[in-house]
């Protein structure tokens, strides 16, 4: 459980020394866009910085961002959970988002999603066991005239996608290391007490053997 008001006391940095110097430089630039009494307004850009370094927004990262901007941690989390680009759980080192809004849909995006699922062996909203890929449906990317469109790792647009070009994209990504991803915390730490009389929620993959399930649920954001 997250306390409603975390005092704005110091929180330890989640970054390595090298990450820290990059964060500090970019943090200064992000905050400088606002007047001194409005520096808290830089929360979205600063969350982007933290996520770009860690791959996703860990709890310590959100606490640290809150400390640096003097914002209670619960407010940071409220914002981070509102926006779909912020990841509250680790995703694949290559996160593939297939646009499924109306123009892409009319041009065959559902076939593209199906093809991804077959190629990667996961469903939309899941991550492969090796952590290399995750797959999700995303909302309109403003690429409607070049449909269907795919978004890789939040920023890379791939347009006019066909099943064939999708196959090549996946092979290309398979050979690349992709985003580094901060390790997930021990599952127990994130468990929420849902009161008595309720079955515990399944948080682990149902089977863990080498021939078992190939995926874990990692849908982030909303």
């Amino acid at each position: 459980m997250i306390p409603l008001q975390t005092p704005g006391g110091p929180a330890p940095s989640p970054f390595s020394p090298e990450q820290q110097s990059r964060f500090d430089a970019d943090f200064g630039r992000a905050v400088a866009k606002y007047a001194a009494d409005h520096r808290r307004a830089a929360l979205l850009p600063v969350l982007h910085l933290a996520q770009d370094l860690l791959g996703w927004l860990t709890e310590p990262a959100m606490a640290y961002v809150g400390f640096r901007l003097d914002i209670p941690k619960v407010r940071v989390r409220e914002v981070a959970s509102f926006y779909t680009m912020y990841r509250l759980k680790p995703v694949g080192r290559h996160a593939i988002g297939v646009c499924n809004s109306v123009s892409c849909w009319a041009m065959g995006s559902e076939q593209i999603i199906k093809r991804c699922e077959e190629k990667l062996g996961i469903r939309s909203g899941e991550t492969t066991r090796d952590g290399q890929f995750s797959l999700e449906e995303v909302a309109c990317l403003a690429a409607c005239g070049y449909a269907p469109a795919v978004l890789v790792n939040n920023y890379r647009y791939v347009e006019n996608v066909t099943p064939q070009s999708l196959d090549s994209l996946i092979e290309e990504l398979r050979a690349k290391p992709g985003n580094s991803m901060a390790p997930a915390p021990e599952p127990k730490k994130l468990e929420i007490n849902r009161g008595q009389g309720e079955a515990p929620r399944q948080t682990e993959p149902q089977t863990t053997g080498p021939s078992g399930a190939t995926s874990v649920q990692t849908s982030g954001g909303k």
Partner: protein
């Protein structure tokens, strides 16, 4: 093949090599030079004469909005740019930012001068970081080096600082007050109005603020250079000046961004700019202005595309995102897709929207999967009617308009899927 004699205002440089550089743009901001010698109110007067309507979706007269801000006595005042393009079917602001960012930046500086604004923010959707945002940032740096941004611009004594801020993936932040909330570092909950953003207490950091769309501002250099009367005369219908960038997608032969006079018919846009429908396709339906707008049948393709005509026909010109759909599309399936979008993007602040969009999406899925009954179709229509005009922002109305119109105009597609 475009309409004979129809001028290009916004896309004039797009086919030139490196169209995004200051060099291609001509190396100068001549409209800014002219504007800095004018009285700010005289610039706004030209915009009023131009009948420039906001290109983000609502079509509000830009000159009127600017006069509201000018009347306020509280300083500082802000101009905030809405570059959070997210309406399904719309991708024209991205094209401006990527292909002619200097036209937009010049227009923005002129707008700030007209409003006595010295600090402006461009709120751009986060996914554009490596594309549109990069181009705009490079354009700003070029403009700064040339003395168009910063202190004492071109020796006029006018100072202006501008910053690009990236959003993080929320359709609702295209709503102007949600955008302001997001720009202030909060989740994108639209604000209750009044006070409106233009008024003290309602804008960015509670200061008077004009929120303008990228395309709206990109028209400013032409209005300043050639005058409001000229701009107004380019539009084909009264009170709708200039051209519009139509973002065309779907089953037309050509898709992409096409510049055509305000008020062109959807038939002319399809036939004269997009080469008609693709091979083997027959036009079945048209989304006229983003997925929030009420749908048109093929027979309604002769309607003019301006704000007032479409409003009188109970739909809207919206964001200029035009989707031509062919006979392969079942409109009940299409509505299920559109409703899923609104259910996902409702911010959850107002109950009729939070519950209504989810309910519509569930019912449409049920109908699409063949599990529906006739009453489900009637219920979709009725729920949509009850969501209208009951919420803080227009997202619920944007979900209700397609829901009602798809059923009213394509009832047969729904009836074929449900048990009678």
């Amino acid at each position: 093949m475009a309409l004979a004699g129809s001028p290009k205002i916004l896309s004039v440089d797009w086919d030139k090599p490196e169209s995004w550089t200051l060099k291609t743009y001509g190396g100068k901001y001549p409209a800014l030079e002219k504007a800095l010698k004018m009285q700010p109110q005289a610039i706004v007067d030209e915009v009023v004469k131009a009948n420039l309507r906001g290109r983000g979706g609502a079509g509000f007269p830009t000159g009127m909005k600017w006069n509201f801000v000018r009347k306020e006595t509280s300083f500082p005042k802000y101009l905030v740019v809405n570059a959070d393009e997210g309406e399904p079917g719309t991708f024209k602001d991205r094209a401006i930012c990527e292909r002619s960012p200097h036209m937009f930046v010049e227009g923005l500086i002129i707008g700030c001068f007209a409003l006595d604004c010295h600090l402006t923010y461009i709120y751009c959707r986060g996914e554009f970081r490596d594309g549109a945002i990069k181009r705009v940032q490079e354009a700003i740096e070029e403009a700064r080096a040339a003395g168009f941004v910063g202190k004492n611009i071109l020796g006029s004594g006018f100072d202006l600082e501008m910053h690009v801020v990236a959003g993080a993936g929320a359709y609702i932040c295209g709503e102007e007050t949600a955008l302001l909330e997001s720009l202030e570092g909060r989740k994108g909950y639209p604000r209750l109005k009044p006070p409106f953003p233009a008024n003290a207490g309602g804008g960015l950091f509670k200061q008077p603020t004009a929120v303008n769309n990228v395309e709206t501002l990109a028209n400013l250099p032409s209005i300043v250079m050639k005058g409001g009367d000229w701009f107004n005369s380019v539009g084909l219908v009264p009170k709708n000046g200039g051209t519009r960038l139509f973002a065309v997608s779907g089953h037309s032969r050509k898709t992409g961004v096409f510049e055509a006079p305000m008020g062109i018919t959807f038939r002319a846009l399809l036939d004269d700019y997009c080469g008609g429908m693709r091979e083997g396709s027959t036009l079945k339906a048209i989304i006229p202005g983003g997925s929030s707008s009420a749908i048109l049948t093929a027979a309604e393709a002769d309607w003019a595309s301006d704000f007032d005509t479409l409003k009188s026909k109970k739909t809207m010109a919206g964001s200029g995102g035009v989707v031509y759909l062919d006979q392969s599309v079942n409109m009940a399936h299409a509505l299920a897709n559109v409703m899923r979008f609104y259910a996902h993007e409702s911010c959850g602040q107002c109950t009729p929207c939070r519950e209504g969009t989810a309910w519509l999406s569930r019912l449409c899925d049920k109908i699409m999967q063949g599990r529906g009954e006739k009453t489900d179709v009637d219920n979709v229509h009725q729920i949509a009617r009850q969501m209208e005009q009951k919420t803080i922002c227009a997202l619920a109305d944007g979900a209700a308009m397609p829901a009602k119109s798809y059923i009213e105009k394509f009832r047969a597609d729904f009836d074929a899927l449900v048990r009678q």
